[in-house]
Structures are given as structure tokens and as C-alpha cells.
């Protein structure tokens, strides 16, 4: 079986990459494009570690075949921000001491970023449900909630 050519946009840049028909988007990002920020924690969509944005929406990239992303826009944690130019959520996660083992963090951040895009002023309940697809085993989520709440509040403050 010959490899297929996947054309899509990844982190703002057009990408043309050879993938296997059975590669998931997560496989393609990690193994074919060197974007190892998204993690595989379960492979079945039950942990959220692989969360990326597809056309701005958070998805479990372990459940999408790479070729299903053809023509779509993909954003990974590497495109959200980078050391020295952190996204406000990333900055808040650092300051609030959220990351422990860190494995869930890229997925949580992508879920949180999508939530704030869709709903800039979420209630605590909305944040809790917004990131409930991302399991974290280290933090108990409390500091995540604080960091997301603070970021949303700061964003609201800037707008007003």
C-alpha cells in the first residue's frame, strides 16, 4: 500500500506530508511531522492528551485518520505559543504551578483555549465541563481552574 499525500494547514503553515492510510492525525503529527507536543495517553479518545484543534474545534487526534484532515486547518500545542512567546493560558499555567508530570498539559491547554474562543466568559461549571475531556492524574484540576479563570478574567478586562 502506497503512502498518501496529506495536504493541510498545520500551525499556520501549509503542510504536505506523506502518511500511511492507517496513520491517525496524532501519528502523522508526531511521527511524520515531528510535532510531539500532542500525546497519546489512551488511543481511544478517553483521556484528551492528544487534543488538537481542527478548524478551530478541539478534537481527539487519536480518533481521526490523518487523511481525514485533508484540506483542514490543524493547530497543535506547538502553534499555541512557544517559550518566550507564551499564550496567556500557557503563561497562567506556569505561574499557577499547574504542570506536574506535564503529560496531560498540552491537551488540557488546547481544550481550554478552544473553550475560551467559543465562550470568553465561562462560569466555573463551564470551565469544568470544557476541560472534562482531559484527564489529569497529578493536579486535581484545582490550579488549572484558577489559571483558566484568571486568563478569562484578564481577557475580559482587556476588552472592557
Amino acid at each position: 500500500m502506497a503512502k498518501l499525500v496529506l495536504n493541510c494547514t498545520v500551525n499556520g503553515e501549509p503542510a504536505e506530508v506523506l502518511v500511511q492510510p492507517w496513520d491517525t492525525l496524532l501519528d502523522a503529527l508526531r511521527e511524520r511531522m515531528g510535532l510531539t507536543g500532542p500525546k497519546e495517553g489512551c488511543g481511544t479518545g478517553d483521556c484528551g492528551a492528544c487534543t488538537v484543534h481542527l478548524d478551530g474545534k478541539p478534537i481527539a487526534s487519536c480518533l481521526l485518520l490523518a487523511m481525514q484532515a485533508r484540506g483542514h486547518v490543524v493547530l497543535t500545542i506547538e502553534g499555541l505559543g512557544r517559550p518566550g512567546a507564551l499564550h496567556p493560558l500557557q503563561d497562567a499555567f506556569v505561574r499557577h504551578g499547574v504542570p506536574q508530570c506535564g503529560f496531560c498539559i498540552p491537551g488540557v491547554l488546547m481544550a481550554a483555549a478552544a473553550l475560551l474562543t467559543e465562550n470568553p466568559h465561562p462560569t466555573e461549571e463551564e470551565i469544568r465541563y470544557g476541560i472534562a475531556g482531559s484527564l489529569c492524574r497529578c493536579t486535581g484540576y484545582t490550579k488549572m481552574l484558577a489559571a483558566i479563570t484568571e486568563t478569562a478574567g484578564a481577557a475580559a478586562g482587556r476588552r472592557s
Binding site: 508526531r30 507536543g37 488511543g43 478517553d46 483521556c47 499555567f93 506556569v94 484545582t142
Partner: protein, 770 residues
């Protein structure tokens, strides 16, 4: 060792909430875990695992798998000369030889160009099994005539107990004849239990059950192995202890330890499940067979089916009390289901059952029982949450039965420093009473009657609390502290930093040396370069490695001052370090900068020694650490759904080196504890096969299930920890199951004794009670 450092200036060091410096790398996906490594020529490993929990292997045919293009190696036990017939540990059972003893046990291994090809190769391996009867239930497995698990002559494995520094001194008895699956057995007794019950006004007897649960780290086990042409092995591993991994792999492969380098990669959570070697040996063997780098990453299904979970614990307790509140007697029997290999920590249960509270008479037996399930390992405070669930539930019921305040009842009987534990050793300094007292002052506890009375129609509200703890782990360890030519300080250990311990160690070094933490860099070295360092486990990183770092930093400071004394022609006793400069006290313009001293140790032809502080301590004194937790809940009695409204964690940390990191430990531990309390269980069928091998059905709590976790830090200094610090990691996972069970009883009047306290158990118990 606990002397308070007298620095001449307040440096930015211990006691400050400083975010970990690698945070930006963690939040941008830049930190590297094993699965992120793809060296040139990488092969992917997959393991064929037994579908049966107990079977004889009659024949394995790998010829079709070997013929598949892209397959580079297919191995069975016959291809691995080092394998021992009687595997003493799980790590040694690399591939099953002629018998499988749990479902998911590896039978054959494949390395291939792509994971998909490796998986197809597994499909092409033909194994003929003769299915044998299983021991699926520990109580049945204890009986004579039960299907045997271990090969005769296999020794009990107590290394886990040692690794966790739990209490020795519990006498081990010979096992009764023909009870082939009892692998460890112990009994502790004092006084006349029968007399105690006879004189009791209230006797309560209950059996508590806690199922096997998984540590639940988000990163599955992963290892990358590569040999060089001289036969030197490098392992990139997700491990809680690189030196332990090196020792175990060396033992299994019959290799000298200096032929192996273990590079500890970023560890995506361990919680005890990544202490023992698991897939390192087979990955190394595949790499040897192919001459290529081989990466093995377990799937989540494999993790759940064939990881190393916590044991099922079944505790029968009988307790007697007089109407005036006098404790009389406790009789207990704890059965720890260890799965297919021995390795449970038996002593923890005995100590907490018999001597957390002061029982005039006790008789507690402990059994480790083998079954045809994956063998167990540590899980954050091994066996403590399970044991505290039993004893604390029992204390609550005794208090209720005689109508006394449950907090006062616990405090009255709680053993204090100097009281004798069941094993004869005295309790060391601890804050058990302090944390419980502090929690009882919390408004949520004081207002529990109002909360209960405020239940809306169709809902039941309640509050519960519990007290638990951890005795503290110990392990020899080492650290070095260097002064750099630019005056900055460099700390080296082999400590695997999972939770953010490196920043706390850097803070310790900063305060001990007398320099701001911004000027301290700390590195986790691999096993070739780092001083021997213990596990990241057992709540002992700060307690032990912290001492090593503190002593090495003091050593470096003394060396620095001695060099300065010579240079300044002053007495060492008159010197202080102020603002990166050694100055003569009272003569502020007479000084030499740390950079100048550092440079002198690095210049060609210089006669000044470089500053290199070294410490490699061993330890004998534990620091017990206690945690009290409160749950304020609301129950939908028809569906059994529990809503957590508030959860409070009060913990004695001795001295909070980095409060921010400590809060994270308290919150995370509490949520693991709540998962064990409410939803988590590995559920096996009667053939000992796992029925819920996914994170959909193995239910860790999500953010939607939880309230904010309030943390209250209590500081009762430990006599031996660095600056008085105690271990922090284990205590917060201990109390929640009992706190929730107590809250459920407060809300509904129903007492539940089997974890998890699922909506089903709650709803059906309420339905049958009404």
C-alpha cells in the same frame, strides 16, 4: 542535620512559592518523554499477550510472523537464554516459558519497521494453550486445593516494602500446609482480645473491601533501548528511579551495571507504578536481537490489563469499646491480593490497624495471597488508603454507636509521639493530632448540622472527615553542589523530577549555600554521571535527597568561605555571603565575589581548589506525615449520584519548602483518593480477565466531577528533615475513602464498606434500607 541555616541575608530560597523553571517547556509541549524520541533506524516493539489467566503453553509457531516483510525480530522465551524458570519477580518473567499466570502476560515479542506491521505479526503467531483452572478470588485462592499460581519454591518479594521504608519487625509465620497461594503471612498480637470484647459494651464487626486500582499515570510505560558495538546498553526510560531500573535490568539480563546507562526521560506520572522494571528487559533484548534501537510504548489497554496495579485489600475488623469511650480490643485480618507475583507491603496494614489508635489488646493477621491476575506494585502510600478506609470507618461507627463526638473520640485514642506501635517501635514526632484538630475547626465541619438540615427536596446532604497518614520512606542518596566560574551554583542529583521536586531542591540549595535560587541550576543526571540517588517514591525526595542537597550545599559554602578566608586573610568565622559576595562581617567593602572564587577554581595553573560540595547520606529516622480530609456532599438518593460540594485537605508538611508545589501534591493526591473512593476499580470476571480495560470504563475523576480542593498546610517540624520538612506525596491519597463513606452515612444513614462507593451501590443500599 535539622539546624536552621544562619545565612547572613535573606536569600530567595525555602518557603517561597516558586513555579518550576521548566514550566514553559511543559506548557508548550517541548519537554521530551520516551515516546517522543525517534532515533535513526528506530524499530517498534509489540508484545503478544496471553488471553488466558492460567494456561499451559503447548506450542508456539512464529514462522509466519517471521516471514512478514518489515518484521525484524520475533522472540519467544526459547530465544532468551537468561530467562529463569522460577521468575523471582515480574521483571524476570520477560516472556512466559511454558505457563502463563495472568491474562495479558507476554508470550512473544516482535520488533518491526512500523507499529502496524508489528501488530500484524502478532496476529500471525500461533500459540496453542491448554487452559487451566484459575484462582480469581483471593479468599478462594487462600484455601487448600486452590489452583496454584507460583511455581513451587518462589520466594516472597519484600523489596517493595523496603523501598517504601515501611515498618519492619512484624513477625512472619510459617504458612499453613497446602495453602499454596499464601505468599506472605504475619501476625501481631498484644493483650487478651477475647477478654477485651467480653468487657466491651459495643462490638462492631465489618468487612471492608477495596478492589485493585491502577495508578493511572497519563503516560503509559515506555522505553527506548539501544546497544553500541561494544555491548553497552543505553535505556531511555519512563521511570521513578533510574538506578533501580539499571539494577533490575542488569539482574534480569545478567549484565554488569557499568554496562548499562539509564537515561531518565521526563516521566509522565508514576505514583509507584514506574518503580519496578516492566518492559525494559524485553525492549533491550529486542534491540540486542536486531542491532537497532527499539522503542516500546504500552497501550492503555495493556496498562490496564497487564500493568502493576495496587492490590485488592480485604480487611475484616472486629472492635470493642466501652460506653464511656474506652477502647478495648481490635481483631483484624487483612488479605492483600498480590496477583501472580509476590510484592505487597504487608506491614503497613498491621501498623495502622493495630496502632494508629491505642488499643489495649489487638490481634491482627495479614496475608499476601497470589491469584491469576497481573502482579501488583506500589501505588502512592501503598495499602494505607485501603487500611485507613477500614479503621477510620470503624472508629466513626464506634463513636456514633456510643454517642460521642467522632473527632474527640479519634483524638482521645490517637497514638502520639513515643507511644509504641504494634511492632514495638515508638511513634516518631508527627502532626496527626494537629491536622485533625485544625480540620475540626474548619467552618464546614462546625456547620455540618446546618448543611445536613438544608437538604432540598429529593436530596440528602452530609459531611464526613477522616484522618490518615504515611510513615515515611528512606533511602540512601547523593548530591553534589558546584560553584561555577561566574558565581552561579550547580546542583546534580539523579532524582527523577515528576512533581516539581527539583525547584524545591534548588530552593534548599539556595538557602543552605546563601544565594538566590535564580542563581541555582539543578540537573537530573543519568546513571553514568549522577551520584547514586534513590527513587522518586515513598514521600522521601525532599526528606532524603533534600538532606543530601542541603549538606552538599553547606559543604560547598564552607569550601567557598575557606577559599575566601585565605584570599581575604580573615577568619572563616568572620565571613558571610551577601549578594553573591563573601564579605568580612562589619567591613562591607572587604570582600571577594563568588565569581572570583569560582574562576580561581577553573583557571589554568591556579592553585585554588574548585568548590565541589558532596553529600551522600543514609538515613534511619522516618518522619510520619498525617493528612485529614473533609468532604461536604449531596446525594441524589434515587440515582446514587454524589455531588462533591467542598473538599478540604489539611496536611502536616513539617516545613513547606515550596508551598505552591505542596498544594499541587495535596490536590492531586486528594483527587486520586476520591477516585478510589467513588469510581475506580479494575473489575475482573470469574476467569480473572479484566472487564474494563479502557479509560472509558476505568473511571478516573474528571474536572466536572470535582469541587475546588481547599488546602491548609500545617507545619510541625520534623527533627531530621531538611529545615524540618516531612514527606508530602503520600499522605493526601490516604483519607478520602473513609471521609466519603462517613459523609454518605451522615447524609443517608447507610454505611457502605466496599469501594468504590459507586452511584449503584449507594442507590441500591438506600433503596433496600427504605
Amino acid at each position: 542535620m535539622s539546624t536552621v541555616m544562619k545565612t547572613t541575608r535573606d536569600v530567595k530560597g525555602i518557603g517561597l512559592s516558586i513555579p518550576r523553571p521548566d514550566g514553559p517547556e511543559k506548557v508548550t509541549g517541548q519537554v521530551q518523554y520516551v515516546a517522543d524520541l525517534s532515533p535513526r533506524g528506530l524499530l517498534h516493539a509489540k508484545l503478544l499477550r496471553s488471553p488466558h489467566a492460567h494456561a499451559r503453553i503447548l506450542r508456539i509457531d512464529v514462522s509466519r510472523a517471521r516471514a512478514l516483510p518489515g518484521v525484524r525480530a520475533v522472540l519467544t522465551a526459547a530465544d532468551i537464554p537468561e530467562l529463569k524458570r522460577k521468575a523471582p519477580t515480574r521483571a524476570h518473567a520477560v516472556l512466559a516459558i511454558d505457563r502463563v499466570v495472568f491474562a495479558g502476560q507476554p508470550v512473544a515479542a516482535v520488533a518491526a519497521d512500523e507499529p502496524a506491521i508489528a501488530e500484524e505479526a502478532l496476529d500471525l503467531i500461533d500459540v496453542q494453550y491448554e487452559v487451566l483452572p484459575v484462582s480469581a478470588d483471593p479468599l478462594e485462592a487462600m484455601k487448600p486445593g486452590a489452583p496454584p499460581v507460583a511455581d513451587a519454591g518462589t520466594e516472597a518479594d519484600t523489596s517493595e516494602a523496603q523501598a517504601h521504608g515501611s515498618v519492619a519487625g512484624v513477625t512472619t509465620e510459617a504458612k499453613p500446609a497446602k495453602a499454596v497461594n499464601i505468599s506472605q503471612q504475619a501476625r501481631i498480637q498484644r493483650g487478651d482480645v477475647a477478654k477485651g470484647f467480653a468487657e466491651s459494651d459495643v462490638v462492631i464487626e465489618k468487612t471492608y473491601r477495596v478492589p485493585m486500582v491502577h495508578q493511572g499515570y497519563l503516560e503509559p510505560h515506555a522505553v527506548l533501548a539501544q546497544w553500541d558495538t561494544t555491548g553497552f546498553l543505553t535505556l531511555w526510560s519512563s521511570t521513578q528511579g533510574s538506578f533501580n531500573t539499571r539494577s533490575e535490568v542488569a539482574d534480569v539480563l545478567e549484565l554488569s551495571e557499568n554496562r548499562i546507562k539509564v537515561i531518565p526521560m521526563e516521566c509522565g506520572g508514576g505514583f509507584g507504578g514506574k518503580i519496578r522494571a516492566l518492559c525494559e528487559p524485553i525492549t533491550a533484548i529486542l534491540a540486542r536481537a536486531t542491532g537497532r534501537p527499539v522503542r516500546y510504548v504500552m497501550t492503555r489497554r495493556e496498562e490496564l490489563e497487564a500493568g502493576m496495579p495496587a492490590p485488592q485489600v480485604i480487611i475484616r475488623l472486629k472492635t470493642g469499646v466501652k460506653r464511656d469511650g474506652t477502647l478495648m480490643a481490635i481483631e483484624g485480618e487483612a488479605v492483600l491480593e498480590s496477583g501472580a507475583f509476590s510484592g505487597a507491603v504487608l506491614a503497613v496494614s498491621g501498623v495502622f490497624l493495630a496502632s494508629l489508635y491505642l488499643w489495649p489488646s489487638f490481634d491482627v493477621k495479614g496475608f499476601e495471597v497470589l491469584t491469576h491476575k497481573p502482579s501488583i506494585a506500589a501505588y502512592r502510600a501503598p495499602v494505607a488508603p485501603q487500611t485507613i478506609f477500614a479503621i477510620d470507618s470503624q472508629m466513626e461507627q464506634l463513636a456514633k454507636a456510643i454517642g460521642v463526638d467522632p473527632v474527640e473520640f479519634r483524638l482521645r485514642h490517637l497514638q502520639r509521639e513515643g507511644d509504641k506501635m504494634a511492632n514495638g517501635q515508638p511513634w516518631l514526632s508527627n502532626g496527626g493530632a494537629e491536622v485533625l484538630t485544625r480540620l475540626a475547626e474548619h467552618p464546614l465541619w462546625k456547620k455540618r448540622a446546618e448543611w445536613k438540615a438544608s437538604s432540598p427536596k429529593g436530596r440528602l446532604r452530609g459531611t464526613g472527615l477522616s484522618l490518615g497518614g504515611w510513615l515515611g520512606g528512606l533511602q540512601p542518596t547523593g548530591a553534589t553542589v558546584r560553584l561555577n566560574p561566574d558565581g552561579s551554583v550547580q546542583v546534580l542529583t539523579g532524582q527523577v523530577d515528576i512533581a516539581g521536586t527539583n525547584i524545591a531542591l534548588a530552593q534548599i540549595a539556595a538557602t543552605a549555600y546563601g544565594i538566590d535560587v535564580d542563581k541555582v541550576r539543578i540537573t537530573t543526571g543519568d546513571t553514568d554521571v549522577a551520584p547514586m540517588t534513590g527513587l522518586s517514591a515513598g514521600s522521601k525526595t525532599i526528606y532524603t535527597v533534600g538532606v543530601a542537597v542541603m549538606e552538599a550545599a553547606k559543604d560547598a559554602r564552607n569550601q567557598t568561605l575557606e577559599i575566601a578566608a585565605k584570599e581575604l586573610e580573615a577568619s572563616v568565622h568572620d565571613l558571610e555571603i551577601d549578594n553573591e559576595k563573601v564579605v568580612v562581617r562589619g567591613v562591607p567593602d572587604k570582600g571577594i565575589t563568588l565569581a572570583q572564587i569560582g574562576k580561581k577554581g577553573n583557571l589554568y595553573m591556579s592553585k585554588v581548589q574548585p568548590v565541589l560540595g558532596v553529600s551522600h547520606p543514609a538515613f534511619s529516622q522516618q518522619a510520619p506525615a498525617f493528612c485529614a480530609q473533609l468532604a461536604k456532599i449531596e446525594i441524589d438518593p434515587e440515582t446514587g449520584e454524589v455531588t462533591l460540594h467542598d473538599f478540604v485537605v489539611v496536611q502536616d508538611v513539617g516545613k513547606a519548602i515550596n508551598p505552591l508545589a505542596i498544594e499541587g501534591q495535596m490536590q492531586g493526591g486528594a483527587v486520586q483518593s476520591l477516585g478510589m473512593a467513588l469510581t475506580e476499580a479494575l473489575v475482573y470476571d470469574d476467569k480473572a480477565r479484566l472487564t474494563n480495560p479502557s479509560l472509558l470504563d476505568y473511571r478516573k475523576l474528571t474536572s466536572a466531577d470535582l469541587p475546588n480542593i481547599e488546602t491548609i498546610i500545617v507545619e510541625k517540624p520534623s527533627p531530621h528533615g531538611p529545615f524540618g520538612a516531612r514527606g508530602v506525596g503520600e499522605p493526601p491519597i490516604v483519607p478520602a475513602p473513609a471521609a466519603i463513606a462517613n459523609a454518605i452515612e451522615d447524609a443517608t444513614g447507610v454505611r457502605l464498606t466496599e469501594l468504590p462507593l459507586t452511584s449503584e451501590r449507594i442507590a441500591l443500599a438506600i433503596a433496600s434500607a427504605t
